[in-house]
């Protein structure tokens, strides 16, 4: 199953053309298992704003990289490569990408290992978070919380069991699946299958993100402006009434979720045009948020 490439397989179509060539240093089941447990027990413990899950990914890869790169300089270089920015859904996505990356790395195609990480992490973040949070968790936890409120201990127990078992199984399965499919992907790189998969996943990811951004990023303006209206008195004659109109209402009429989309576009523009360091983007958002929120002109949501 997840055994390394069998030599009895029909001629590997990618092998000879690859600049490095597939490694003959076999990755054993034991090594794969060590990677999985490293991922399982600690994937996000070093999560940070700058590179998010990068160190966790690199740490998990160490057993494999050590086998594949006996040369010290090559080993150090592989560690450096896997320390680049990485973030995806840790439950549905993380193990899949990890398994796929190992297969690519084993096949000696380090560039495709790097590019498959980048190509898969964003769509898997959107898909994985939606599956685990929006779909699965909301059902499991609302059932459990309902029972807990009635004083039924089965509520928490039910929820814990439905986290413990499926969450483990889905990660274990993905890891093996990613590794096996990763080998196939390398073999079919030239047939464009991976390109198709990447393209499909990218499209799915972009569509999901188009819906995600206005849902998750929350900002509204609490500003109002005065408007004079000539009202007709019931007994005849007219009077000028001053009315307060919320600006947010006008914005919603132009385009719903205009502000969340605008602020995301603004940061995207900063990152792209000026190649801004993410830390600076965070600092800028902190400053803008604290200023606008502190002044009371903008808020997370309109007061009800």
């Amino acid at each position: 199953m997840s055994e390394p490439a069998d030599t009895s397989e029909p001629a590997d179509p990618v092998g000879p053309a690859d600049p490095v060539g597939p490694s003959d240093l076999a990755i054993t089941r034991q090594v794969l298992r060590r990677v999985f447990w490293r991922y399982f027990w600690s994937f996000q413990v070093s999560w940070n704003y700058e590179r998010m899950q990068a160190l966790g990914f690199c740490y998990s890869m160490v057993p494999v990289l050590r086998v594949l790169h006996p040369d010290r300089a090559a080993f150090a270089d592989s560690l450096r490569r896997h320390l680049s920015f990485f973030n995806t859904s840790p439950i549905v996505g993380g193990p899949l990408i990890l398994g796929t990356t190992i297969a690519m790395e084993e096949a000696g195609s380090t560039t495709s290992a790097d590019s498959v990480k980048v190509a898969m992490m964003a769509p898997m973040a959107g898909i994985g978070d939606t599956i685990t949070f929006a779909l699965y968790n909301s059902i499991i936890f609302s059932i459990g919380a309902g029972w807990a409120l009635q004083g039924n201990v089965m509520g928490p127990i039910f929820t814990v069991l439905f986290v413990l078992i499926p969450y483990f199984v889905v990660r274990w399965w993905q890891f093996g699946f990613g590794y096996r499919q990763g080998k196939n992907m390398v073999a079919r790189l030239a047939s464009g299958a991976l390109e198709k998969l990447n393209e499909g996943a990218t499209i799915l990811g972009l569509i999901v993100m188009g819906g995600f951004i206005p849902q998750i990023v929350k900002i509204v303006t609490t500003l109002t402006y005065q408007q004079n209206i000539t009202a007709v008195k019931p007994g005849g004659g007219s009077t000028v009434v001053t009315q307060k109109v919320p600006v947010q209402k006008q914005l919603d009429a132009i385009l719903p979720y205009l502000l969340p989309v605008a602020i995301t576009a603004f940061i995207y523009f900063l990152l792209r045009r000026f190649n801004l360091h993410p830390i600076w983007a965070i600092v800028i958002v902190f400053a803008i948020g604290l200023a606008l929120g502190g002044l009371g002109w903008f808020a997370k949501a309109l007061p009800t």
Partner: protein, 260 residues
């Protein structure tokens, strides 16, 4: 003292569970509150505080690294302070919930600090990787968890050790109003950075209309995110199927001799 230490340890275990093994989903208030109830010796109160917070927070998850109200500390502090409040269970629950929600919100600004500090670790990790020092890499990886743990452990210990109801409300009062408002907005717009970073990695210029599609579905047609995802899946399949085959068909008819 012993109970305060046990609750503090529980807070650390919970955040570790979320970042690491996810055995019981340590950031969800129901599980957190139930065990906190067991620790203080009032299981029913713990389940009630945790369960209520759970339903309030349903659908609040951290996407792309956004800060959410700290329900771990909230559920623990709420349960512990509700337990020491004199009165009948109903009153204890009301007090516990008020203080639990207040603690979750007041402590939210600490979360970005816990997420920011490990950045210093990663720069040291770069140097360790460059030299191929894996032991140092491992130590850095695990110790980068300390800021995450500290921003929960310290407030939990302080709040539960000085077990009195006035402590939390005093903290709440001492924070100026404008700062709380500002930090609430910061927490609400910070996900934009994560999204922008992801967008930078994607071919937005080529497929900008796909973003637009998701936006229109959600913003104008009020389709839920599950709906948007399923629609996206269908579009992705249709798109790659209908796309005129380029090198793809050629290589397939030529069999395995597709080396370039």
């Amino acid at each position: 003292m012993l109970i305060a230490l046990a609750l503090t340890l529980w807070a650390v275990v919970c955040i570790y569970d979320m970042l690491g093994p996810t055995l019981f989903y340590g950031t969800r208030p129901m599980v957190v509150g139930t065990v906190a109830g067991l620790i203080v010796g009032d299981l029913t109160l713990g389940m009630a505080v945790g369960g209520t917070l759970e339903l309030t927070a349903l659908g609040i998850y951290t996407y792309g690294g956004a800060s959410t109200p700290d329900y771990i500390t909230g559920a623990i502090v709420g349960t512990a302070l509700g337990h020491v409040t004199p009165g009948d269970p109903g009153h204890q629950l009301a007090i516990g919930l008020t203080l639990g929600v207040a603690a979750s919100l007041v402590l939210t600004p600490l979360d970005p600090i816990g997420r920011f500090l490990p950045t210093f670790w990663i720069h040291r990790a770069d140097r360790a990787a460059m030299a191929g020092r894996t032991r140092e890499l491992s130590v850095l990886h695990w110790t980068a968890f300390l800021p995450w743990a500290a921003v929960r452990a310290v407030p939990t210990f302080l709040a539960t050790y000085f077990l009195n109801t006035s402590a939390v409300s005093a903290i709440e009062r001492s924070v100026p109003n404008w700062f709380t408002n500002g930090m609430t907005l910061v927490g609400a717009i910070l996900p934009a950075v994560g999204f922008a970073m992801l967008l930078k990695l994607l071919p937005v210029r080529r497929y900008w209309y796909m973003l637009l599609l998701g936006y229109v579905l959600f913003a104008f047609m009020k389709v839920t995110l599950v709906g948007v995802t399923l629609f996206g899946l269908a579009v992705a399949v249709i798109f790659v199927t209908l796309k005129p085959p380029t090198a793809d068909r050629l290589t397939r008819t030529e069999g395995s001799s597709d080396n370039v």
